[in-house]
């Protein structure tokens, strides 16, 4: 599609088309939006892009995005040191933080085991996790990888690895969305919810 345009516009469309969730049509729309915008607005966008690469780093402890050596969760002293929640991506940390339920620490793996994409345990931050667990402060590891084929494989790899370390290894439950209707749940989720049913307190 970008071949129909020339020079700078074609370059911009090609670059935007590389972004996740942006197809050829979307790239074209964004490119023309940029063209029609104020120079100052475009400069701010460009600056933001450059800054994000320059300033944002990954936390040396948990692998979350950070602006310093450690992320704000790792430096927060009020956090519970005995629990670590293992997630695939920094955006999963944000999702769990929104619940305000979890007060422990995080560990971001940077993906899931995926042989097709050449990702094995050594490409993930698993060794770092083992180092964090070595001193015995952590008593529970909560595995919160995605409930898909690769996430499940990663979860079961971790549980095998951690099984002999004498700490509690838990996995987030799969089940029904809160506030929804049972009839709208798909069969897989409903089946999982059945498997993971809990006894009610009388």
């Amino acid at each position: 599609m970008s071949t129909a345009y020339e020079g700078a516009v074609a370059d911009l469309i090609a670059e935007l088309g590389q972004l996740p969730g942006v197809g050829p049509k979307g790239a074209q729309r964004i490119a023309f939006h940029v063209l029609a915008s104020d120079t100052a607005d475009v400069a701010r966008l460009a600056e933001a892009l450059i800054q994000v690469k320059a300033r944002v780093r990954f936390c040396v402890v948990c692998g979350n995005v950070a602006e310093a050596e450690k992320c704000r969760i790792c430096v927060d002293e009020r956090r519970n040191d005995t629990q670590i929640c293992v997630v695939e991506e920094p955006r999963d940390v944000v999702a769990i933080e929104r619940t305000r339920e979890f007060r422990g620490r995080y560990h971001v793996l940077g993906g899931a085991i995926n042989p097709i994409n050449g990702i094995g345990p050594d490409e993930l931050r698993i060794r770092e996790l083992m180092t964090r667990l070595a001193d015995g402060t952590v008593t529970e590891v909560i595995i919160a990888t995605d409930p898909n084929v690769e996430g499940e494989a990663t979860a079961s790899y971790l549980s095998r690895l951690l099984g002999s370390m004498g700490l509690a290894v838990t996995r987030l439950a799969s089940g029904l969305p809160v506030g929804g209707d049972l009839e709208y749940a798909d069969e897989i989720t409903l089946g999982r919810a059945f498997e993971g049913r809990v006894t009610m307190r009388a």
Binding site: G23, I113, N114, P115, I116, G118, G120, P121, D122, V149, E150, E152, A153, S156, Y157, R160, Y184, D186, E187, I188, G191
Partner: protein, 417 residues
């Protein structure tokens, strides 16, 4: 059930076509390449969410267009419902049922059920095992939509595991070359060894995943084969009138891979029945798969393929004690293929959730059959609630299937009777 109205937009060769189709028998007649099959293919697509002619959706969208739309009004019992399917080139398809969008396209599956007979069906008998596996799996998904996700999860796990085996095997091969070249120098090739052990550490995890999903698929297929068996035998008897009984057995790679099972031990009927009984239990199959994978691991690494699992299984068709493949004549093979389709029809119509008879689609099959089989098949399908058939010439349509008729010529569909 029957489809009473069909509207296509940019589907295959049709920019726009709207048809009212009666219940009972309808023939689409016209020379080759005029678009007869495209019409029935669209209805078949609504049933299976895949075409009997192509494996990808791209050819279904008319050239140069972005999307094709199939819209059908279906009469199930006395309830009409409208199913609308939008096929998008290169994007996710969308479905609407009774004008309301459904969140997942799978939710629209099973509203229109169909059984398609096509010239390609001969491959069910003469083709490779994957054709028969697909036959079983497609039927399974129509009967139990939940299995669609088991099937796709399994495919995913298999792909991941096989990739891992390949890369681990490659590292192994590389190391062997290194150590051969520098036999004196010990300590060389440690990085290759390290990569290999990393790969092997995760292999156990993929074994477990493969066994968990694969066992569900195998158990479901074996159950299906058992349900198909009586229908298959009687359908074959009716179609062919030949001697000998048509039997089907599920051949599981996991059973074959067992070291302690001498091949002739399975030949006795009671042993075969016991073996089948065990395959119905997912927990048993899962344990067997795990056992087989751990035993076959060196071989799997060497060859870079997953050697056991539902992707290596087959349905054996046996006619009067002889395997159909390789022994049956062309005509007998056709009888067996027809019997398989007829048996699926019987199974689907007997299913409580199905809303009665599936729509029967006979795409250009009469030209393939001799007069006797043609007449028998016609007599068997004639009572179905709706039969849609295509033929290049009107003379190929058996007299038993006299009904409504549309002429199809250069994309124009006109009702002539």
């Amino acid at each position: 059930m029957h489809v009473s109205d069909l509207a296509l937009t940019d589907f295959r060769s049709y920019p726009e076509v709207v048809l009212a189709i009666p219940a009972g028998i309808t023939a689409f007649v016209g020379p080759n390449g005029q678009g007869k099959t495209n019409l029935v293919e669209s209805i078949g697509y609504l049933g299976a969410f895949s075409s009997h002619r192509v494996s990808s959706d791209a050819p279904l969208v008319r050239q140069g267009c972005e999307r094709a739309v199939i819209r059908a009004r279906v009469q199930r019992g006395d309830r009409p419902s409208v199913v609308e399917l939008e096929l998008n080139a290169g994007r996710a398809n969308k479905a609407r049922v009774d004008r309301a969008p459904v969140p997942r396209i799978r939710d629209a599956a099973g509203i229109v059920r169909s059984v398609v007979f096509a010239p390609e069906d001969l491959a069910l008998v003469k083709g490779d095992p994957d054709v028969r596996r697909r036959f079983l799996d497609d039927l399974l998904v129509q009967l139990t939509p939940r299995l669609a996700s088991v099937r796709s999860d399994y495919d995913r796990v298999l792909k991941q595991r096989t990739t891992l085996l390949k890369s681990a095997g490659a590292v192994r091969g590389g190391r062997r070359a290194v150590s051969a070249a520098a036999e004196e120098e010990s300590g060389g090739g440690t990085s290759a060894g390290g990569a290999r052990s990393a790969a092997l550490r995760t292999l156990d995890v993929w074994d477990a995943q493969l066994a968990a999903t694969g066992s569900q698929l195998i158990a479901a297929r074996v159950d299906l084969v058992r349900r198909l068996r009586p229908h298959l035998a009687s359908a074959y008897e009716q179609v062919s009138s030949a001697q000998g009984e048509l039997a089907v057995t599920y051949r599981a790679s996991v059973t074959q891979a067992r070291p302690d099972d001498a091949p002739d031990a399975l030949d006795s009927p009671s042993a075969a029945a016991d073996a089948e009984e065990e395959l119905l239990r997912p927990d048993v199959v899962e344990a067997r798969l795990l056992e087989a994978m751990s035993r076959l691991r060196p071989k799997e690494l060497e060859r870079g393929v997953s050697l056991v699992g539902p992707h290596r299984d087959d349905a054996d068709l046996v006619l009067g004690g002889m395997p159909v493949k390789g022994y049956a004549s062309h005509g007998e093979s056709w009888s067996v293929a027809l019997a398989m389709r007829l048996a699926s029809f019987e199974l689907l119509r007997g299913d409580d959730w199905g809303g009665g008879d599936p729509v029967l689609i006979l795409d250009d099959v009469f030209a393939e059959l001799d007069g006797r089989r043609r007449a028998r098949l016609a007599a068997l399908v004639a009572p179905a609630e709706q039969v849609l058939l295509t033929s290049a010439v009107a003379e190929d349509v058996p007299a038993e299937l006299d009904g409504a008729r549309f002429d199809v010529m250069a994309g124009e569909v006109t009702r002539v009777r």
